[in-house]
Symmetry: C2
C-alpha cells in the first residue's frame, strides 16, 4: 500500500529500527549517573551527538536533542529572542514557515513583540532582498525554512543568511524537510530539524546553536542538554535518529536523483491526465521527493478519501481537511488555488510502479468527486458555455453561496459565468474562507478577470468579469 | 549485575518492549491524518490514552502525553498558574519536591510571582496543616509529590488535597515515583508522571488535568494533545508506556510486598553492618522499593564508585555527586546527614540474593572509603578518644578545613573532639556547603551539642560543644 506522505512522517528506516532495539537494552539508564549503566548511556548519547553534529555541520557542543522538531523551533526561537532582548523584540519570518514558527511568532506578538512576515512569490519562494528589507535595528532574529513542507520549494537560505550576517541578525533555519537530503549551506546561526522526517523515530528533534550566538533558554530548565532541553532524554530514540540520519545521507544523492525523476513525472503527467489542475511550487528549486497540485471543483477531503480507498495516502492543504476550515497558510501566501489540493511526498524507496499506479487512479478519483459535487461538464471544460453569449443574457448575476463550503462557491461561479455576456459581471456571495483564495485563482486559471471583493452581511462578495 | 537505581530509571519492562516493537510498525504515522496509516495511529493513541487514564483514575480527555515527566511538571504548573492568574501568583510547594517543580517555582519568582516552600519533618514528610497554613487568598496552585524520590517517604496527599479543596486551590500531584504502584488517592486537580520510572520508555510523561480546573497552556502551542503538549507525539513510546503501566499495575501488589520485605531487610541490617550510619526517610509510610542511608566520614562519590566496582548501581544525594557541590535539597530540607549518602531503589524483579550480596559488599566498601580518607579508628568508633579527657586539654580548638570538601570537615571535627574537655568547644572553619548540614547531623548522631554557625572570612565557622 503506497504511502505518499513522507513530508508528514516517514516509516522507520531499518537502521533506525536496529539502533533503537540495540539501545533499548544499552541506553535506558540515566546518562548523568556515574555507574556503569549510566556511563554506557552517556557513551551512546555522546556518539549520537557527534554523528548528528557531523550531519548538520556543526560542533557536537553546539547541538542538543529536543523532544520534537516543534519543540526545537519553539524553544530555539524563544531562546534566541531572549538572548537578544536588549537589541529588540522584532522577529522576521517568511509567510510560509511551519506552523511551529508562526505559533512562536504569535506568542511573541502576544507578549508585546513585533513580527514581520516576508511575502513569497507564486512558487512559495522568498526573495533574499525582501528579508534584507525586513531587518531593522530592533530585529532580534530572522527565521527561514530550508525548503517548504507543503510545496517543496527550496528557499535561498545562503543568500538570506548573508543578508542577515551583514545586518548582524542571527538566522534560524528550520531544516525539517531537507536535513535528510543534505546539510544546509550558508552561514546560519541556529538550525532545527525533526528525526521522523528522515526515517528516524518520533520524539526526537535537533536544535543547533552556533557558538557565539546569544541564547537564553526560556522557562524552567535543568542541567540536561546544556540547559536547552529539559527532561530525561529519550536515548534509544536519539541513537536511532542519529544512526538513521547517517544512513539516509549515505543514500541521499542516488535516492534524490531517482525520486526527482518520479516527481518530475507527476508534475508533467497530472495536468495532462486531469483537467483544471494547477501544479504548485517551484518547478526546479525544489525538494526531490515532493509535489503538490490543486484541482478545480474538487473537495480536498473527498479526494483524499477516494485516494485512500484506492490505497494511496497523501495529504492536503485544502480548507476542508483542516480543523479551522481555512486553506493552508502556505497556499494562501502563494495565492494559488487551494481546493482539491493534494501533496504527494515520496518516502525513500518508493517504486516507480507505485507512482504509475497513482497516476492511473488519480483521474478517476478526481472525476468521481466532481461528479458527486454535480459539477456540470461545461464547468469542467475549458470554455464557458455558449448559452450566456446570447443577447438576452443578464449583464450581472449574483450567486448566493453563503453557508456553502469549498469547492461549492467556485462551482457555482463556473456554472453561471456563461450566463452573462462578455464584459458582464458575476458576484459570488460566500462566507467560506477558501473562496478568498479560490475565486481569484479560478479567474487566473480560466482567464477571467477578478474584479475584487467587498464585505456584505454574513460574508464577502467576490466579483468576476467575464472575459471570453 | 544488580541495578538498584529504579527511582532514576527502570529497565524496559518486557511488555513495554513488545508494545514498542509492535507500534514501530503500526504507529509511526501522524494520528491527525485521515488516511489509513493515520487512522491506525489514532486508534493506538486513543487506546493508550484510555489505558493510561484508567490507571491514573481520570477520564481519557483529561489526560495528555508529554515528552517527559519534567515537561509534564513544567507545562502543567505553568498552565495551572496561568489559568488562575486573576486569583494571584502564589505557588505552594513542599521543600522536597522534584527539581522540576522547584525549577518551575524559581521561574515563577523570576517572573514576579511568589512561592512558599512547606517544610518537612526529619522523615521528609509534610504536615497537612502546614499546607493549609501556607494557602492564601492569592494562592493559584499547590504542588505536592505523592512520594519522595530520594528517601521514599509517602506524602499525605489525600489530606493535603482536602485542605486545598477547602481553600479552593487546585493541587497538582507529582506521582512520578508512585504511579506504577497504584493510583493517587484523594481529590487532586492535576497529576503528572513519567513512564521510564515504571519500566516504560524514556520520552513519555503524563499530565492529567481534571475537568473544571482552570488551565491555560503557556508558550506556543499546536492542536496536538488538546493544545497542552505541542509536537508530533512519540506514539510507539506512548503505546509502550500505557501497556507497561497496565502490566506493572497487575503485578504491583505482590511485587510491592516482596520488595518491601527486601527493603525492610536493608533498613534493619545496614546499621548493624556498618558503624555510624543513619537510615533516613519514614520507616513505615514509604515506597515499597526504596531505602536511603548516609554514612559518616564517607565521600559519597567514592562510595558509589566502590559499589559500582563491586557491581552495584546506586545513586547518592551527597554534595560530591552533584555538579553544584551542594547536598541534595531533600536531605537539606530534612536536616539529615548528607555525607556518604546512598539511595537504593529496587527495580521490579530484584532477587533477594542480590540484596544479600549488596549487604555483603557494603561494609567493606564503606570501610575502604573511610580508610582511604584516613578516618582514625577513634573517629569511627562510638565514643570520643580518651586523650582529651585529661586535664591538660585545651578548652577550645579551631579546625581549619577551608578548601576541603565533604566529608573532610566532619572527619577533622571527629578527630579532635576528644582533644577538648567535656564542655569544651570545637569550631570547624569550612567553605563546603555540606558542612552546614553534616556538622549538626554529626552532633545529633554522636550526641554532641551543636552550638551554631557564624560567617568568617572565606567561609563559615561551625561550633560544637563536647558533651561526653
Amino acid at each position: 500500500m503506497p504511502y505518499f506522505d513522507a513530508a508528514s512522517a516517514a516509516p522507520l528506516h531499518p537502521v533506525a529500527r536496529q539502533a533503537l532495539l540495540a539501545s533499548l537494552d544499552e541506553g535506558w539508564a540515566d546518562p548523568a549517573r556515574l555507574y556503569r549503566e549510566g556511563r554506557r548511556a552517556r557513551l551512546l548519547l555522546d556518539a549520537a551527538r557527534e554523528a548528528a553534529a557531523e550531519a548538520v555541520g556543526c560542533r557536537p557542543d553546539e547541538l542538543v536533542f529536543t523532544p520534537s522538531g516543534t519543540r526545537a523551533l519553539h524553544d530555539g526561537i524563544a531562546g534566541a529572542l531572549a538572548g537578544r532582548r536588549r537589541t529588540g523584540r522584532h522577529l522576521v519570518v517568511s509567510a510560509v514557515e511551519h506552523s511551529a514558527v508562526l505559533q512562536s511568532a504569535a506568542s511573541l506578538e502576544a507578549a508585546g513583540g513585533t513580527v514581520t512576515e516576508v511575502a513569497v512569490d507564486r512558487t512559495g519562494r522568498v526573495a533574499p532582498g525582501s528579508y534584507a528589507a525586513a531587518l531593522t535595528p530592533g530585529t532580534a532574529l530572522a527565521a527561514l525554512q530550508s525548503a517548504n513542507h507543503e510545496v517543496g520549494t527550496v528557499q535561498p537560505v545562503a543568500e538570506v543568511a548573508e543578508e542577515c550576517r551583514a545586518a548582524g541578525v542571527p538566522l534560524l533555519v528550520d531544516a525539517a524537510q531537507s536535513l535528510g537530503w543534505g546539510p544546509v549551506e550558508g552561514g546560519w546561526s541556529l538550525l532545527t530539524a525533526s528525526a521522523h522526517k528522515w526515517g528516524g523515530p518520533a520524539g526526537v528533534g535537533l536544535l543547533a546553536v552556533r557558538k557565539g550566538v546569544r541564547f537564553a533558554p526560556q522557562g524552567p530548565s535543568d542541567e540536561r542538554e546544556s540547559g536547552r532541553a529539559p527532561g530525561f532524554p529519550d536515548l534509544p530514540g536519539i541513537v536511532a535518529a542519529a544512526a538513521s540520519l547517517r544512513a539516509v545521507r549515505a543514500e541521499a544523492a542516488a535516492e534524490a536523483a531517482r525520486l526527482r525523476e518520479l516527481v518530475e513525472r507527476v508534475r508533467a503527467r497530472v495536468p495532462e491526465l486531469v483537467p483544471d489542475v494547477e501544479v504548485v511550487g517551484d518547478p526546479v528549486r525544489r525538494l526531490p521527493h515532493l509535489v503538490t497540485f490543486s484541482c478545480l471543483y474538487v473537495d480536498g477531503e473527498a479526494l483524499l478519501h477516494a485516494l485512500d480507498r484506492a490505497g494511496f495516502s497523501v495529504s492536503s492543504g485544502s480548507s476542508c481537511t483542516s480543523s479551522t476550515l481555512m486553506p493552508s497558510h502556505v497556499l494562501r501566501a502563494m495565492g494559488v488555488l487551494s481546493e482539491g489540493n493534494v501533496r504527494v511526498s515520496l518516502p525513500a524507496g518508493t517504486r516507480a510502479a507505485d507512482v504509475e499506479a497513482f497516476l492511473g487512479v488519480l483521474p478517476g478519483a478526481v472525476a468521481s468527486v466532481r461528479e458527486r459535487l454535480g459539477v456540470p461538464r461545461e464547468a469542467a471544460a475549458a470554455a464557458p458555455s455558449p448559452t450566456g453569449s446570447g443577447s438576452g443574457a443578464a449583464a450581472e448575476l449574483v450567486v448566493d453561496a453563503l453557508g456553502k463550503r469549498c469547492p461549492i462557491p467556485v462551482i457555482e461561479l463556473a456554472k453561471v459565468i456563461g450566463d452573462v455576456p462578455v464584459g458582464g459581471l458575476v458576484t459570488v456571495l460566500s462566507d467560506d474562507e477558501a473562496a478568498r483564495l479560490d475565486v481569484p485563482a479560478w479567474c487566473g486559471m480560466r482567464d477571467q478577470e477578478y474584479v475584487g471583493e467587498r464585505p456584505v452581511p454574513g460574508g464577502t462578495a467576490y466579483t468576476v468579469r467575464r472575459r471570453g
